[in-house]
């Protein structure tokens, strides 16, 4: 025993010292004391390290912006639990359904602003002014041009056209837990009714669609030729293209002779319990006008403000007709979309 103690005691001592010093030096880290909070505090579901737009806003106005990112449903729950005490002023998401739900659950308050009304087309903002779409993302078809003739796509309803037997064994798509899949299916339910949407999803399954857990994996599979056709968000392709310009993948704008390509918005709303509503409103207005380029550019999204042009890579994809955005349908049909996917066995 005495020998073991000789070996062990320094180790225990070191461990104690290490944890004590961590505790002491940790206090600063632990936010006890902490620094002065910013003028505007943002809960954001956009997972970007630094929003270039916020930095530009700070430089332009002298107002400081703090933000934390997280999952939209979880941030919404945090808002609800914090109630009147919440530090948040602005709630930013990447899904119209999430915005609609936050508003529906009473966490967002209307902002009446001529600037916002003028800058943003009506269909991309709430009819009661509780949220505003700021950036657009399209979910469309990408293909490997070596194996696919784009003339084979159904130009009226490209998503439904992929149920055609000619695509058997050639399709790759995202998994059912992904919000992108859910909101696409929700919009299909909105367009075709539940039975119609079910037929489409079942048709993809009958074509032995291979399901992947990541949009980049989808693009890599197309490039490698293990898949011929996939449904992806346009900006992932833009980003991959920037890194690998000779990628064997092309984009096809879905349903151009029909309802248009499925789009979703990144948008924001004013938090009910905000203690700096005037400043938050200023940020919101700035993002919709002067800040549009900074807001969408870093992520290759489309600006919602029609006056602003998209960035170069994205402009190269050409113009397209977006599917009309119905946030209420996306928000309220999301749960039904999950249910439909489970019913037909789309994992």
């Amino acid at each position: 025993m005495s020998r073991t103690r000789r070996v062990g005691r320094p180790a225990v001592l070191t461990a104690t010292l290490v944890s004590l010093s961590a505790l002491v030096s940790g206090c600063g880290v632990l936010g006890i004391g902490g620094e002065e909070p910013g003028d505007i505090q943002v809960y954001s579901a956009r997972h970007y390290d630094l929003e270039d737009a916020f930095v530009a806003f700070e430089e332009e106005t002298g107002l400081t912006v703090d933000f934390i990112y997280g999952d939209d449903a979880e941030l919404l729950e945090r808002l609800k639990a914090e109630g009147a005490e919440t530090p948040a002023d602005l709630f930013v998401t990447v899904d119209a359904g999430a915005l609609w739900n936050a508003a529906d659950q009473g966490e967002l308050v209307p902002v009446r602003s001529p600037v916002l009304e003028q800058a943003l087309p009506e269909e991309y903002r709430d009819s009661q002014d509780r949220w505003f779409g700021l950036a657009l993302r399209a979910r469309t078809v990408a293909y490997n041009p070596e194996n696919v003739d784009p003339a084979d796509f159904d130009t009226k309803d490209t998503y439904a056209g992929l149920t055609d037997p000619q695509w058997k064994g050639r399709l790759c798509m995202r998994d059912s837990t992904e919000a992108y899949t859910q909101s696409l299916v929700a919009s299909l339910i909105d367009l075709h009714g539940r039975d119609g949407a079910k037929e489409i999803v079942q048709g993809w399954l009958d074509n032995d669609v291979e399901i992947m857990s990541n949009d980049i994996l989808l693009l890599e599979a197309l490039d490698a030729g293990t898949c011929d056709v996939a449904i992806v968000n346009h900006y992932y392709f833009a980003r991959e293209l920037e890194e690998k310009p000779d990628m064997n993948v092309e984009l096809f704008w879905a349903s151009q002779e029909g309802d248009g390509t499925h789009v979703n918005i990144s948008g924001a709303g004013l938090v009910k319990a905000s203690d700096a509503p005037a400043k938050a409103r200023r940020l919101l207005e700035w993002l919709a006008a002067d800040g549009q380029e900074a807001f969408v550019g870093g992520n290759h999204e489309y600006p919602v403000n029609p006056v602003v042009a998209p960035d170069e890579v994205v402009a190269g994809f050409g113009e397209f007709k977006p599917m009309p955005l119905d946030a209420e349908a996306m928000g309220s049909l999301n749960a039904e979309a999950t249910d439909l996917l489970a019913e037909v066995g789309y994992e």
Partner: protein, 541 residues
């Protein structure tokens, strides 16, 4: 010993149990009180079956790999064994959300392995679908086996020589002595390790999602995220808790009624035998295979990405805030580990010196948090603080707690305590289980007060368990993502949040470096453990 008065110590256990259980209880109550309809997702039965199959597969997998390797390094000497004995803990350092992605991007149809196979063997080659339940079982077994390995090894090393020697003296050969004496004696530790693995499996969301495996936890998230309404998901979260109860009951069952305490000191349970020639190298290969699959291959893959990223853009490669994130991760992990281990020690000790049935159950109750998904614990903590806030305001304190939770890391630390008291308690308690009650009794009858018994008798005897507990909690806390993401104050970012933010937008090349740093940070406590392992090793040799 039972029930006899140490009210102070018993009260401590009860208080800890209440504090730790309240976020989980808050979630359940919130669900029951708040929603009038029960929203069970479609295919609940298949989710339950999938969960059971996954738990069974991962359980068997970790038991075979972890238990087998622990036996191998304890009972034999072979080339590189002294190095491998601690390297085998490394897969713990690899967060499941990273391993899942790396594994799929390496082995799926467009990954390098299949591409290579196709180029050599031609098209039309049949390969099993990696994105499947078996795929998930393999990956989770590889990343979780160190739990079983660590606890099993601690048990084998702590085993007293007398029983094994007695078995050999009575004519049992090594194999028979192993199966009939050594293994049954290690059962409490194997059970404890397995319980941890089961609970990890139960709460995992990232890996199973990558592999398209729909467990009950995935169901919780689907309902929650699909409806943007947490309350509707809580009934399902209750189902996850039922599984956890089953796991803990199973653990008790596996430990059995028997109490495997031992006398006659520790160590030298097994005289290690030298394996020479191909047998020796065979053993080395087995260890290396497990290590390669669970650690080195994914690390190599991450390294390739990180190097590629560095070559592409050397200037942007090292983020200046990198040191701050690292310090944040380490500080929170160190405080959480110290807190969890301290409480576990006090609780195990309290149960030992005066634990009645109530105290014993209360101590067991504190381990439930581990079986609750991190995001759910996070919401629970928010609810508890919101209630405390309202209660304080009602009592006339203006401003209540003043947003103590999300304004500081207090909320994160509280949630960590709820989640990680289990691994700490399991490890410490498994060590306590091996101290003979007579040891405690004689110390006390000789007039030592409880604190002195803890310091002079119990602590030295359970040190292996304490070391394991510290390492487990530290690593778990460094890797933890959902809790930090949900509860962090403005301006507080950890390594795992950084990885999430990059990986969430599929910047995998850029996420590679921070992911490697998480792995490296988790290796530090493993190194501390290594010193402890070596110390016990030296004793045993």
């Amino acid at each position: 010993m039972a029930g006899s008065g140490r009210p102070g110590w018993s009260l401590l256990v009860l208080v800890v149990a209440v504090v730790v259980a309240s976020p989980v209880v808050a979630v359940v109550l919130d669900g029951l009180l708040g929603s009038d309809e029960i929203a069970m997702p479609r295919g609940l039965r298949s989710m339950v079956v999938t969960t059971l199959l996954l738990m069974l597969g991962v359980g068997v997998g970790t038991l075979v790999i972890g238990g087998g390797l622990a036996w191998l390094v304890t009972a034999y000497r072979f080339p590189l064994r002294n190095l491998l004995v601690w390297l085998l803990v490394l897969p713990l350092a690899m967060p499941a959300y990273i391993l899942g992605f790396v594994f799929l991007s390496t082995f799926d149809a467009s990954g390098p392995v299949q591409t290579f196979l196709r180029s050599v063997l031609g098209e039309g080659l049949w390969v099993p679908d990696v994105r499947s339940l078996p795929g998930a079982i393999v990956v989770m077994s590889l990343s979780l086996f160190p739990y079983v390995y660590l606890l099993a090894r601690a048990a084998l090393v702590e085993q007293s020589p007398t029983t094994y020697d007695a078995a050999r003296t009575l004519g049992a050969n090594r194999t028979r002595a192993f199966w009939r004496v050594v293994l049954p004696l290690a059962r409490p530790s194997l059970a404890a390790g397995l319980a941890l693995v089961m609970m990890e499996t139960l709460t995992d969301f990232a890996t199973v999602q990558y592999f398209g495996v729909k467990t009950v936890s995935v169901g919780v998230y689907l309902v929650w995220k699909g409806s943007f309404d947490f309350q509707s998901a809580t009934q399902l979260a209750g189902l996850v808790l039922l599984f956890a109860v089953a796991v803990l009951a199973g653990e008790r069952l596996m430990r059995g009624r028997a109490r495997y305490t031992q006398r006659g000191g520790r160590g030298q349970g097994l005289q290690a035998r030298h394996l020479t020639g191909w047998r020796g190298w065979g053993a080395t290969t087995l260890c290396l295979l497990a290590l390669a699959a669970g650690f080195f291959v994914p690390v190599a893959r991450l390294l390739t990405w990180a190097v590629g990223e560095a070559l592409a853009d050397p200037a942007a490669f090292v983020d200046p805030r990198f040191g701050e994130y690292l310090a944040n991760s380490l500080a929170v992990a160190a405080v959480a580990a110290t807190g969890c281990v301290l409480l576990s020690l006090l609780m195990s000790h309290a149960v030992r010196i005066g634990g009645g049935r109530v105290v014993r159950s209360a101590a067991q109750l504190t381990t439930f948090g581990y079986a609750v998904p991190g995001a759910v614990v996070g919401i629970g903590v928010l609810l508890v603080f919101a209630w405390a806030d309202r209660a304080l305001e009602a009592a006339g304190v203006p401003g209540g707690t003043g947003l103590l939770v999300t304004g500081s890391v207090l909320g994160i630390l509280y949630a960590y305590l709820v989640r990680f008291l289990a691994p700490a308690y399991q490890a410490v308690d498994a060590s306590f289980a091996k101290i003979a009650p007579t040891m405690t009794l004689s110390a006390m009858s000789l007039g030592a007060n409880p604190l002195r018994v803890l310091r002079r008798v119990h602590l030295p005897l359970v040190r292996p368990g304490v070391a394991v507990a510290l390492v487990l909690v530290t690593i778990d806390a460094i890797k933890e993502l959902p809790i930090v993401l949900l509860l962090r104050p403005f301006g507080f970012t950890t390594l795992s949040v950084w990885v999430y933010q990059l990986a969430g937008e599929n910047f995998w090349q850029e996420a590679a470096l921070p992911a490697l740093v998480i792995v490296a940070a988790a290796v530090v406590p493993v190194f501390f453990l290594f010193r402890q392992v070596r110390a016990t090793d030296r004793r045993a040799v």
